[in-house]
Symmetry: C2
Subunit: 233 residues, 2 copies
DNA sequence: TTTTGGTATACTGCTAACAACTTACTGCCG
DNA sequence: CGGCAGTAAGTTGTTAGCAGTATACCAAAA
């Protein structure tokens, strides 16, 4: 506990004091969102504990959190499986996302400021590079970042918490869907986000709500097109 | 493992197969909502485990769930305390509740059916008895039941999950507030719910959204009147 | 009187081990 | 050949205990 130790840990990784449960949660959430853990995969506490180099309890807590986030479902006394929401649930989630994102859009028009313009413009510029590179995964990530940025602009803790939680529940599907888009459809992503910025800038709350609804519905339609019918419980 | 054991447990408590974690969660949530555990109270795992007759882990899991529900807050390596949302957070929660409950109202007008009429009428009738008896706690419970009934009518799992979670976060405050209402203000609760039923019945979604917004705002105003300024972190 | 150093307490985070339960398999009997 | 019972393996739910760390208190010195 000399000053060196303190300095090292403080400088190197200020919040490495994070618990193993937190680390497990993060690792598992990431594994699910990247597809390393695919829908239907069994999450066996003992196995994951071994892979993560910890005991079962932190893993157990992580699985519990992910269950409450809706990414994992507990099968009755059988363990937990990575959850694949049926199309009907995707529709439900989207319906609520629309309602909440419209509220976000309304607030963003009201709170619009130069800083917002800068942040979102930068993200759209990076999207353009993504389109040039045909890098669908990167586009998907930037799309997520764009919306996260709007949530921050909306400056509403509870709203952000709920809308981000909902988006995570369909994040994998959105990402997969973007991965399937044709080359000539990619520029449409740029247009969509430029349209959003335009209505934010214009300051018309009603128009902003409409544009946001269209935007979310487009994403859902893309998901359901490839997903309905192909879904197997 | 004989049939007697099975039969006994089955009859005595059909879902006693519930885990200790579930039971602990339920008991603690109830204690918080009744005020048996007051805001600021420390939740010490060892103590609660003793009181509930179980070991620390199920209690720990329960505390974690309640933390994610927003009823409890973890103090840094200090334990967990029953959370008292500051007025600003009450306002945030209410803002989202309005948005979601308006969606509920819209769906209820669309899905209105004789069964809905029966259910809600019965609840309002029971409220009238509550008003006659000046039983504020009962009125508060019936108000919660009325809204829970509308959520069921709206038939939307994700919506119900989110709106009920939000309401739980201010349930204690709502209950306390109703407890402070003057006798001659109590009939207003009946009127409010009759108005809601009227617009549901009329089938006008826009009017239903408006009425619901007013209804939620009234509740929030009551909370903030007695709560703003009196709040101490 | 105030501040600082040290000590003791008490809590959480985690590990390892136990017990109950479910499921799948294997062998036997009809 | 098919069905059923019994057994074995594997997984979760739970317990008890250990280690690390923050906090509070108390004493001593400036």
């Amino acid at each position: 506990m000399d000053s060196l130790t303190i300095a090292t840990s403080t400088l190197a990784d200020p919040i490495t004091t994070r618990t193993l449960s937190d680390q497990a949660t993060e690792r598992l959430r990431e594994a699910i969102q990247t597809g390393a853990l695919a829908p239907g995969d069994l999450l066996v506490e003992r196995v994951l504990a071994g892979q993560l180099g910890m005991s079962r309890v932190p893993v157990r807590e992580a699985i519990q959190r992910l269950t409450e986030e809706g990414l994992v479902k507990r099968a009755a006394s059988r363990g937990a499986v990575v959850y694949l929401p049926p199309p009907s649930e995707v529709e439900e989630i989207t319906a609520i996302r629309i309602v909440l994102e419209q509220f976000v859009a309304e607030r963003v028009t009201q709170l619009w400021a130069p800083a917002a313009e800068t942040t979102l413009t930068a993200l759209v510029d990076r999207m353009r590079e993504g389109v040039r590179a045909r890098d669908r995964h990167r586009l998907s990530r930037l799309d997520a970042e764009f919306h996260a940025a709007t949530w921050r602009i909306a400056a509403h803790g509870v709203l952000m918490e709920m809308v981000s939680s909902l988006r995570r529940r369909v994040a994998r599907l959105l990402d997969e869907t973007v991965g399937l888009m044709a080359d000539d459809a990619l520029p449409g992503i740029i247009d969509a986000h430029e349209n959003l910025m335009a209505v934010f800038r214009a300051g018309d709350a009603v128009e902003a709500r409409d544009e946001m609804r269209r935007h979310i519905e487009t994403g859902q339609a893309r998901i359901l097109n490839v997903y309905k019918g192909r879904y197997q419980p």
